[in-house]
């Protein structure tokens, strides 16, 4: 028995070890993304191959992705990164991880989404919604804006909040609230009134424990209100058998935009540029939208998105948020909220 185990282990080691060679200008692209789950990674690799690229797609979760890229910046492994939102790309840009490159399709993207300095460009947009269960509220009785949650005592304890601000959706929600109270002289650029608003939000909400699923609590009616990203709605409504409305605030809703950029120090810069031109094009993004129910940032690809997501998009206005400013402050905001505001 023991011999067998030894043999298996040795065989495994032999199988895995000899691949230490590093690629050097070989034309092979390594792509880091937090948006490769649910078959997206395989899709990218396959379609890229058809288009003549050799691509390795590496999935790394949102928060860890930026950390990994910043840590590796002196000796980058990746050539391209996509999927992080504007806040994430802003911090990559500030840490000098990105290379400036304006892809051919940059002009087709909706205005105000691409980086003004040309370091990153937009692929997919996502509306961040406040949803509420149709079992409990009508469109008239439900919250019309995030501010209603703490201003109306009837909603207290009825909305779901995460206990950490590490998630991109949560950060977008908080940003959407705090940017209404910007004040140069305030703490971290936000007025006292703004911090009080966030305190009210957390004091009066239901703060989830790890492992609690928002949609389960929504379906039960325990917390019939909470945050949701637009393209995740349909699958969950079906799974949990519950329908919800979403708030349409007068100031608009935050749109999170997933971006793409080239890593400075990539050993395949020319190939990476070609890949960017191909991947962000209306044709590829249209197919991506069709396959993965997303909302393309490229206007010419928009018609490929599923009907229901386009309907959500058309019913909303975009909240005016300076993501550059938010990107520079969000980490500190998150820390302050987690340390001082949450109980």
């Amino acid at each position: 028995m023991k011999k067998w185990i030894c043999l298996i282990v040795i065989a495994m080691m032999l199988l895995t070890l000899p691949a230490c060679g590093q690629k050097e200008g070989s034309g092979e692209l390594v792509i880091y993304s937090n948006s490769l789950t649910d078959g997206r990674g395989e899709w990218v690799e396959e379609k890229a191959k058809e288009a003549g690229f050799t691509v390795t797609a590496v999935q790394v979760g949102g928060g860890d992705l930026a950390n990994r890229l910043i840590a590796e910046k002196n000796n980058p492994v990746a050539d391209i990164v996509f999927g992080l939102n504007t806040m994430g790309f802003e911090s990559l840009k500030n840490e000098n991880v990105l290379l400036e490159y304006v892809p051919e399709w940059a002009g087709e993207v909706e205005e105000g989404m691409n980086d003004k300095d040309g370091y990153y460009h937009s692929l997919v947009k996502q509306a961040i919604l406040l949803i509420y269960s149709q079992d409990v509220y009508s469109e008239a009785t439900g919250p019309q804006d995030w501010t209603d949650l703490w201003e109306n005592p009837a909603f207290h304890g009825q909305y779901f909040l995460f206990s950490s601000l590490s998630g991109g959706t949560t950060r977008a929600v908080i940003s959407g609230i705090l940017v209404r109270y910007l004040d140069e002289n305030g703490e971290l650029g936000v007025s006292e009134e703004g911090w009080e608003a966030v305190k009210q939000l957390y004091d009066n909400g239901y703060i989830a424990k790890e492992g609690e699923e928002f949609y389960a609590l929504l379906a039960e009616g325990t917390t019939p209100m909470g945050q949701m990203w637009s393209s995740g709605l349909a699958a969950r409504e079906e799974q949990y058998g519950v329908k919800s409305y979403y708030a349409k605030p007068a100031v608009g809703v935050p749109y999170v935009v997933e971006q793409i950029g080239i890593i400075d120090g990539s050993s395949n810069i020319d190939e990476a540029k070609k890949f960017l031109d191909w991947f962000g094009s209306a044709e590829v993004q249209g197919k991506w939208a069709e396959e993965f129910y997303s909302l393309p940032a490229n206007k010419e690809a928009l018609s490929f998105a599923p009907e229901y997501i386009r309907a959500i998009d058309e019913s909303l206005t975009v909240q005016d948020i300076d993501w550059g400013f938010v990107g520079a402050h969000i980490e500190k905001w998150a820390e302050k909220i987690e340390l001082e505001i949450m109980r």
């Binding site: 691949a19 490769l36 840590a71 790890e210 799974q239 980490e331």
Partner: protein, 568 residues
């Protein structure tokens, strides 16, 4: 310094090579990358700053969490030792009907932990859990969220942490010289006196090692407080992990982590003092094997049987429910409403029949095997050296080996990447960042302190006089090690190997930063699947992965450990 130099001259070339090799290893992989990072925390833009400490002191939430971590660690040091002693006595010391069967149940925490273990207990006692539902039928007015807070966290973690006893105390108990018990008996000592005055004192080195690990795990508690602690009983480690991933808040994570690390090393220091004061050794050279003790008093006997089986149920129901729920859909798992129609095989088929799904298992098994083996061998060598005498250098090495306990694994990973992303003389001009070796190095580093503590405890069981006898007969050191030392510590070393292997198999925090793009480890793949934004069944996938991991762990345990001792 002169003193050390003088000593150095005396030792032979081999010894010198060994010492310089050790010094290089410690400096290159433990001290330099970590100190580098700690240094950066307190010196930003070239100036000394304590802003992190100030920000942390201002936070009521952080201070409360820190306090809770210490309370939890202190409580667990008592409760886990009590329960652990009980289950070890039931399975290996007293004559209990079905004790072998009971021991399998008691050992169940060896194959699962963390989030999965906590969710298992929530399936039983949580707001929609089995027991809660039963109680609600009897007492409709009761609060469904009764299983929450300090008591609940202590309960879950007490059961979770007894695996240390199962592995290390059981073996040590079997090594006890039965003649000492017989002697006590013939002098008329009661069972209780024998237990407390003869048996347990001999085990004290094992208790010291285990207690340190309990305190450490208690201080670092993450999943149980997050999932069961509720608003009033949160601990500090989730905050450390969270902040260590944020560029702007990393300094706070370092400070908090240093506080925990210093507390750990302080515990170690205290226990070393106590340890040196009370040192019990079995003096017999010809040991007789332990015979299970009968309990004479029938009332006590019944009571012991009832408690043994009740505790058995507490151990096994959560793990059974995890297996059952892994066959249901996400909705059932989240709400607890289990119906015949909720059962499905889809979770398993969707994970197991993907063409690419076996590779992460292979990758993780290879990495975990290599790392567990290398750290075991390295630490065994170093621990033998550390115990071969007393010197300043030895204590430096001893404490240097503890440095991974000073930082959370995310920061250890960052330290490694940042230090070895350029060609450094320290590594003979090799770049580690972006190579498959990096993850192996990381795995070895985070497992060093645990391995050292357990190996040290194992070496206590080696009889020095046997070694000396062999030496006086002219045996070479390696021969002595092979023929005398290793056979005694083999069960412990194998146990350490398996524990390390199992722990590394599903590691996420370290892996995600260090893995090579072509070799995705299991923990990363699991987390990616579990956090799928589209698939609402993600929770079910977590359970499926856990069940598969349990299976691998059980196999590895029974192959390496069970075969030898025939206990599992």
């Amino acid at each position: 310094m002169k003193h050390i130099m003088a000593k150095m001259k005396k030792v032979n070339a081999m010894h010198f090579l060994f010492l310089s090799g050790t010094t290089w290893l410690l400096f290159a992989f433990l001290i330099f990358p970590n100190i580098n990072l700690i240094f950066e925390t307190f010196f930003q833009d070239g100036r000394f700053t304590i802003s992190a400490i100030e920000r942390f002191m201002k936070s009521g939430r952080a201070m409360r969490s820190l306090k809770n971590s210490f309370i939890l660690a202190g409580t667990l040091a008592i409760t886990v030792n009590l329960l652990g002693t009980f289950i070890v006595l039931v399975s290996d010391y007293f004559k209990i009907k079905g004790s072998r069967f009971l021991k399998i149940g008691y050992s169940s925490t060896l194959v699962y932990g963390g989030i999965v273990l906590a969710s298992g207990y929530l399936f039983v006692y949580g707001s929609s859990g089995v027991i809660t539902n039963m109680l609600m039928k009897i007492f409709p007015a009761m609060n469904p969220h009764w299983f929450e807070g300090y008591g609940a966290v202590t309960f879950v973690m007490t059961f979770a942490l007894t695996s240390f006893h199962i592995i290390f105390l059981s073996d040590a108990l079997k090594n006890i010289d039965y003649q000492t018990i017989e002697a006590a008996k013939s002098m008329g000592a009661s069972s209780w006196t024998i237990l407390t005055k003869v048996v347990l004192p001999v085990l004290s080195p094992n208790y010291f090692a285990i207690t340190i690990l309990i305190v450490l795990t208690g201080l670092g508690a993450t999943s149980a407080p997050l999932m069961i602690g509720g608003e009033h009983f949160q601990t500090i480690n989730p905050m450390i992990i969270r902040f260590s991933k944020s560029i702007a808040s990393r300094d706070i994570a370092t400070v908090l982590s240093l506080i925990l690390g210093i507390a750990t090393i302080f515990t170690l220091f205290i226990s070393k003092i106590i340890e040196s004061r009370y040192h019990y050794m079995s003096v017999s050279k010809v040991k007789t094997t332990l015979i299970k003790q009968e309990i004479k008093n029938p009332a006590v006997n019944i009571l012991l049987h009832v408690s043994a089986y009740t505790i058995f149920l507490i151990y096994v129901i959560p793990i059974l429910l995890i297996i059952i729920y892994s066959f249901t859909d996400g909705y059932t798992i989240a709400t607890g409403n289990i119906r015949i129609s909720s059962f499905t095989l889809q979770n398993y088929t969707s994970l197991l029949f993907q063409p690419s799904s076996y590779k992460p298992y292979l990758t993780s098994i290879v990495y975990a095997t290599l790392a567990a083996f290398m750290v075991g061998a390295l630490i065994l060598t170093l621990a033998r050296y550390l115990r071969s005498g007393k010197s300043f250098y030895r204590s430096v090495v001893d404490y240097a080996l503890m440095t991974p306990w000073l930082l959370p694994s995310t920061l250890i990973a960052m330290g490694l990447i940042v230090t070895y992303d350029t060609k450094r003389m320290l590594l003979f001009g090799k770049v580690l960042t972006g190579t498959p070796v990096m993850l192996l190095v990381g795995y070895i580093i985070i497992k060093i302190p645990f391995t050292l503590r357990m190996t040290n405890a194992a070496l206590y069981n080696v009889d020095h006089s046997l070694e000396e006898a062999a030496k006086s007969m002219g045996a070479r050191p390696f021969y002595i090690f092979r023929k005398i030392v290793f056979p005694v510590i083999r069960p412990f070393i194998l146990a350490i190997f398996v524990l390390n292997f199992n722990a590394l198999l599903a590691d996420y925090d370290l892996s995600v930063l260090l893995y090579h793009p072509l070799y995705e480890p299991l923990g990363v793949v699991m987390k990616n699947n579990a956090e799928s934004q589209i698939n609402p069944n993600a929770q079910a996938l977590v359970l499926v992965y856990s069940v598969i991991l349990m299976l691998i762990s059980t196999i590895s345990l029974s192959l390496v450990y069970g075969k030898q001792k025939k206990v599992l």
